[in-house]
Amino acid sequence: MQTRYVTENAVMFTVADELSQQAQETLLQLHHQLAEEKPDWLVESVIGYTTLTVYFYPLRIVHDQVANYIQSFNIQSNRTNNQHTLHRIPVCYHPSVALDIDEVARKHQLSMEQVIARHTSVTYTVSFLGFSPGFPFLSGLSDELATPRKETPRREVPKGSVGIAGQQTGIYPSTSPGGWQIIGRIPISLLHFHRLQPTLFQPGDQVQFYPISKQTYESYRRKEKHS
């Protein structure tokens, strides 16, 4: 495990050179163990693809001690059968909300149905959340759908948009600027400020998508608004 002292109050631990399920499990174990032990110098820790960044109160501990503390954790990197929550998420792939689905289909010489089939046939893993509150970076996207970001980002990507950027897929929990290729939209909210967990997804969760019609999408949305 490499360590790097990135700021006055953070140490970044790199657990692997590249993305892998094993690296992800190690990061989750470190993240959860730290959250459980809750040492009084800890502010929080943040997962990346291959890194865990630990933020601390600099008046309570020094970087070397943080590094030693984490390195003393007994992580079993082969323990991959942890229980992770599985979410089944309805997606409307209708071109009226799937702003770039035509473009993505054309680029890969697929029909729209084939794009949908490939996007819904995989169980994705929430590698981490970032970019904006509740935004999940999902790994597991089929190579056949991997598409670079848009050259000019949109000023406004509508809330609920499902996007593709390179090998990742993700969902915009709120309307924001963004450069991902939009291939669908979900009718449900990913942010819940009054629940104990303010975001639907946690790092390590699993996600499956299933297609719904425009009509079903609209009726789910109405229900969501009233709840």
Partner: protein, 321 residues
Amino acid sequence: MSLKVIEQGVHTTIQDLGRYGYRSLGFPVNGPMDDYAMQLANFLVGNEASEAVLEMSVIGPTIECMTDTVIAITGADMSANINEQLIPYGKAVAVSAGDVIQLRTAKTGIYGYLAIKGGINVESLLGSKSTIVRADHDHLLTRPLQNGDEIPIRSAIVSTGQQPSYINPEVFDYITTSYPVIHYMEGAQYEWFDEKTKQLFEQIDWQISSQSNRMGYRINGGRLHYPQDKQLLTEATSFGAIQVPPSGEPIVLMADGQPTGGYPKIGQIAQVDLPKLSQLRPGQPFQLKKCTLNDAMEWLYERDRFLTMMQKLTNQLWKEV
């Protein structure tokens, strides 16, 4: 008990010292752009350092007091006045119900802070009273303040006339320094850049672009290149991270910056210099100078000692009232 927003200003928000514990769920920390001026404003009215204040940007708001209280204004000089009478800067001032506090265009700096004795009584959101961006939630803390908003405040015992505490205005000299030097440490991908680029980074007269906000400051002056075949796997970022996108034009992540990022980071601004950077006006030249983590830590401890001393001093003054 409240303050009423008559004119919202360019970007007026409620900020405490930030929202911690939610970065791994994608939430930025938020909090003040200039935490130094913000904390001093709180001390001046006898508050804790972390109490929520109003952060005002470029052109400040006009606010009507619906109750008697005590305020203090620090940071950017926005020609603060009460009922059109200029009020001193960096000093506690008593205000009465019906008074109108007006902030104008910043003459120096960008961010001004208005602290209210007793603090802002808004319900916290995820443990903090800092304004969240991109939250998709209806709350006073999920958007800039607007005309007509009523900001609930806590009651404070107010005696009219002279208020006890003030700060020597020289404490805010960092806002008016011409050609300031901003220190940075090596960023997580510092090694990606060649010697020539690293040298260039320190030699350029940098300027803040007008395309800057609480999320990020674009800095103009030159392009920093790195091998284009290098792809960073997204990792955590911090306030002050100097990211370099493929265009080569650096972006410094600020208080509302996203908690993770996929661009390489050439540097990380020293925490004590973040207020100085935040207060820079577009077009004003500045220099970047490398420091070690040890330097940055020592400056941080030193600043902390100063703030602790100021807090003790102002607390003492308020006790004697």
